[in-house]
Amino acid sequence: MFYREAGDFSTTYPQDSQTFPIRFDRYRYYVVLAVAFLVIPFIINDYWANAVFVPFLIYAIAAIGLNILTGYCGQVSLGTGAFMAVGAYAVYKLMTAFPDVSMLIHIPVAGLITAAVVTLFGLPSLRIKGFYLAVATLAAQFFLVWLFNKVPWFYNYSASGQISSPERTVFGIIITGPNTEAWAKYMICLVFVTICAIIARNLTRGAMGRKWMAIRDMDIAAEIIGVNPMKAKLTAFMVSGFFVGIAGALFFSVYLGAAEVGESFGIDKSFLVLFMVIIGGLGSIFGSFIGAAFMVLLPVLLKNVLVGWLGWPTDLAAHLQFIISGGLIIVFLIMEPHGLAQLWRVTKEKLRLWPFPH
């Protein structure tokens, strides 16, 4: 009944090659956008923004970034946390150096800076592959965190070694600093998520995305049929770095407000984003969103259930959270190695025929 192509005619090429070719899907997408932009900002409060929506949107950007690198191009990265830190420190330096420039410029520029750094750390991928590369990206993780800790220039010689975001506005609305309202935080993240997702979706279904996928599936074969592996791998690192940098910039400036690099952008963050990508589905933009939602909601849910309802001590709940998230990851990998996105695809196929399967 749903998701049916029947009666949905494409009469022009652009219509035929649009992102959502099925009418139902397209309307669903418009409805989601409309709700996200026109309904949620008016009903959101501080708790929902800080606990659920803002981290979800920011992690979704990071997950899209990592998904491009790992899911589409097949290069496993364990340095996402540090790459987010690059975005965060870049935006911090920009915000403090050019206080009059709009954040709408600072954040993408921070993304570009991160893209450059990530590309630099992507260079070894031309020589080494697989696990060796994964471990090599750990070098970036530890080195960058150390660098941001040790060079005072990065945190403007502040006594605590922390960076904290000053108050900045976009079109007269405060979006960073302690006086930000919940809806403003939400909106700025939403705008960036939407743009990033559209860019990512279109890149991955174009020539560039196909080259990435060719490299992922078998790099030597791809090279033989004329894909330049150097270009493909480095562009993947670059694009991924751009998104991850934006995520890091938003994470620091809008969500955290103040950050200490080892704590906020440690290796845990790298694994967290990687889990989002795996659970959501490798090689799927939509999967990045569900993965991010899942990993953001799970702790909130567990905490509410265990501490709120059952009244258990918080440390016990924290341990159980480790067990449950670890266990869920394993269960997911066993049941559905292609992630939640695959489940969604299967559901869509089922819905097409439902309720008349014959």
Binding site: G130, F131, Y132, L138, A139, W146, I220, H319, F322, G326
Partner: protein, 328 residues
Amino acid sequence: MPDQLLFAMEVMLNGLMAGVLYALVALGFVLIFKASGIFNYAQGVMALFSALTLVGIMDGQIPFSHLINAIFGTDLHHFGWHVPAVVAIFLTVIVMAVFAWLVQKFIFRHLVNQEPILLFMATIGLAYFLEGVGDLMWGSDIKKLDVGLPQGINEWIDITTFEAFGYGFFIDNLDISATIVAIILVAGLIAFSQYTKQGRALRAVADDHQAALSVGISLNFIWILVWSIAGFVALVAGIMWGAKSGVQFSLSLIALKALPVLMLGGFTSIPGAIVGGLIIGVGEKLFEFLIGPMVGGATENWFAYVLALLFLVFRPQGLFGEKIIERV
């Protein structure tokens, strides 16, 4: 001899000792990777878990006491007995073997023939799971582990070097015993894989799964065996690190230290793990000593990785790794 050189020598010796410990953890990785192609990120957490279990058994802690207290409102914590170290180690080995069996039965049996990256992810999930279980079972406070190994400065080396060079080297007794234990362990492992039936089967599986299967070797058994051995190696590493700096969460991070060792030595080579461990141990201590003060110190966190990375750019398969041949 000039003082600076003597210091450097002392630092190097200490680095060698630290390298032995890295090599121990890396050994666990190599064993599992060779036999089943699984890159076991949980190795560090296994070391933590086994050390926690050992301390728990020795002190007679009641497992899951926090959880039981939270649910039933009781106030349990200890059985009130103390188990001698040898018995406790033996019991912990059994626990690790059961763990190996569970892991094989409930996780990796279902993931046979999946892509390596998925297996890797599963071991990260396992690491989280095991960390939670360990904390839940035994509590998350820092514990002291004392299995009766000698600790403190080695007087004999101190005095001998003082007489020879006019400067006494500081070398911890614990590091010396760790080195001896590691040598015995490696010798034991080599003897096991060369001279026993199971050891030969293990090498056969490492060489070629299908061929091993076709001559009647049970892959399942070998995998359980190899996870048990890795658990045992983890226990040894856990005892050494635990005795040095207490049993606590940071112990699981030694896995991260072992990764560059693996890259340097190659994922499939036991001698590689040992040599790589020594190089990394000495290298990072010397770098911290010579260059560290110039750049603000704490270089130990990343030096190993950067060294391994630079090394890999020139030799992608590591020091002793098998040559990578790629076909379409």
